[in-house]
């Protein structure tokens, strides 16, 4: 799974980090970073939840 963050939209709401801390981290720069560049299928449900719940819809899965 490859994950893309649209930095025009990401504002550091950190919903992604809350739902899937294995993959997303929001630091002092208030931007989400993908810390696991190629997560396994076991994380798909959580990643999809993060994509769906991002308030600004800044995330996308690129398979």
């Amino acid at each position: 799974m490859k994950i893309r963050v649209d930095y025009d939209l990401c504002e550091g709401n950190a919903v992604c980090m809350k739902l899937c801390p294995e993959v997303f981290e929001v630091g002092d720069d208030d931007r989400a970073r993908v810390i696991n560049k190629n997560p396994g299928e076991d994380l798909r449900a959580k990643v999809e939840a993060a994509v769906r719940r991002c308030p600004r819809q800044a995330l996308a899965i690129e398979d």
Partner: protein, 426 residues
């Protein structure tokens, strides 16, 4: 309205005649309460519904399903906030250019850049830094009424906190905050005679706010700080600073958005707890559940009931052909009762999980103040439920006459004075 109740067993012809009678735009319809039955009917029978033209505007598509609202919100290139603004009211051509200077009424890429100017002030991290000050403000607010045994919940409790917080963030002197309160009422309540409502009043009030904003800007010019006004004045867009008018309109948006909506959530949330004593008891017994309660209040109240978009091209939703230029109204108040998303949507449940409501919208225009609002509301209910736990209505709540904002103007309440409570046994 009688036609609706008799149409349930009639054939398709009578049903469509009954649907034609639906009017979501009549502000009087909202005075007794949000017309949930109308929205429910549309979700079930005509989820992409062509609403007939009214005296104040053309026909439009009424979008009542959650999934469709999300789809539309995520696609600003197809569904524009700029073309005819994001508001229900039709804008005169001479006013549209000014409206489009406000972030609410912009599309990407202009929206993206303007939003990027101030969003750093509203991140969860920044808001967390404010918690102490917010709690101090909430404490003082309750202090002022705690021994009186009664008050107007709206004026004395719900309205005060958001006013104080946004004034603090914008560096507006505390002494001026009630001016902002009055102006904001007049702008949002232009449908409601109680607030001196009229479009003319709205224009006059806007002018007064612009003058105030300019004065603040002048005072701040040589003393740049990290308050929002200083940030705005020093901000640059496309290598240029905000014009005076852009600054004024921005101030207007923040002074209204940061004030009215949060106030109405706190009032509406309190009313929901009063009407659902079992749910209130859960929060009193375990204050750690208040955050979850706040999410349910957001879903339940949905203070901003709708926004508007304009189609930029022909597009089809659920088989309905939306034409380029068509007016499209997206109803958050309905999406947040969508039976396909929320089991038992008409049940107020402070423990509701998941609770993926769209009270703050979703996508580009997702509410910039959402984290601040959540903080204010949570802190306020922590204080109210701890210090005035038996608060109850002392008279009926008076609702705002508006098809846009789900608001409460007055809510007389009574409670055991704090001094008496602390004298009682443990």
């Amino acid at each position: 309205m009688d036609a609706l109740s008799t149409a349930t067993h009639a054939g398709p012809g009578a049903r469509s005649a009954a649907l034609d009678a639906i009017n979501l735009t009549d502000a009087d319809v909202y005075v007794p309460g949000v017309p949930h039955e109308l929205y429910k009917r549309l979700r079930h029978e005509a989820p992409v519904f062509w609403h007939t033209a009214q005296a104040d505007g053309p026909g439009f598509w009424a979008i009542t399903k959650y999934e469709d609202l999300v789809r539309i919100s995520r696609d600003p290139r197809t569904f524009s906030s700029a073309r005819r603004s994001a508001l229900y009211r039709e804008t005169e051509p001479e006013d549209l250019a000014n409206m489009q200077l406000m972030m609410l009424n912009m599309d990407p890429p202009k929206h993206t850049r303007l939003r990027g100017l101030i969003n750093k002030g509203f991140t969860p991290r920044m808001v967390a830094l404010l918690e102490l000050r917010i709690r101090e403000a909430a404490t003082k607010i309750i202090d002022a009424v705690a021994d009186k045994g009664e008050c107007d919940f709206v004026a004395n409790i719900a309205a005060e906190l958001p006013l104080q917080v946004i004034a603090e963030m914008m560096g507006i002197p505390q002494a001026d905050r009630h001016m902002i309160f009055d102006w904001s009422n007049q702008l949002i309540g232009i449908d409601d005679p109680d607030y001196g409502g009229s479009l003319e009043t709205g224009k006059q009030v806007s002018m007064q706010m612009y003058m105030y904003a300019n004065q603040l800007a002048v005072e701040r010019k040589d003393k740049a700080g990290d308050d929002l006004i200083s940030v705005l004045m020093n901000a640059e867009l496309d290598g240029e600073k905000l014009t005076e008018l852009e600054f004024d309109l921005f101030f207007l948006l923040l002074a209204v958005a940061g004030n009215e909506t949060t106030r109405n959530l706190i009032s509406g949330g309190m009313l929901a707890l009063i009407e659902h004593p079992d749910e209130r008891a859960k929060l009193i017994a375990d204050p750690s559940r208040i955050a979850s309660g706040v999410e349910e209040m957001l879903r339940w109240v949905s203070p901003v009931m709708h926004f508007r978009r304009t189609a930029m091209r022909d597009v089809e939703i659920r088989g309905q052909k939306i034409r380029e230029g068509d007016k499209v109204m997206i109803y958050y108040i309905s999406a947040n009762r969508d039976e396909e998303i929320f089991p038992e949507p008409y049940r107020f449940d402070v423990g509701r999980t998941p609770n993926e409501h769209v009270a703050f919208g979703i996508g580009e225009h997702f509410c910039l103040g959402s984290n601040l609002a959540r903080m204010e509301i949570r802190v306020m209910f922590e204080e109210v439920l701890r210090r005035l736990p038996d608060i109850e209505l002392a008279g009926p709540a008076a609702r705002l006459r508006s098809n846009f904002i789900n608001g409460i103007k007055r809510m007389p309440v009574r409670f055991t004075p704090e001094r008496q409570r602390s004298g009682a046994g443990a």
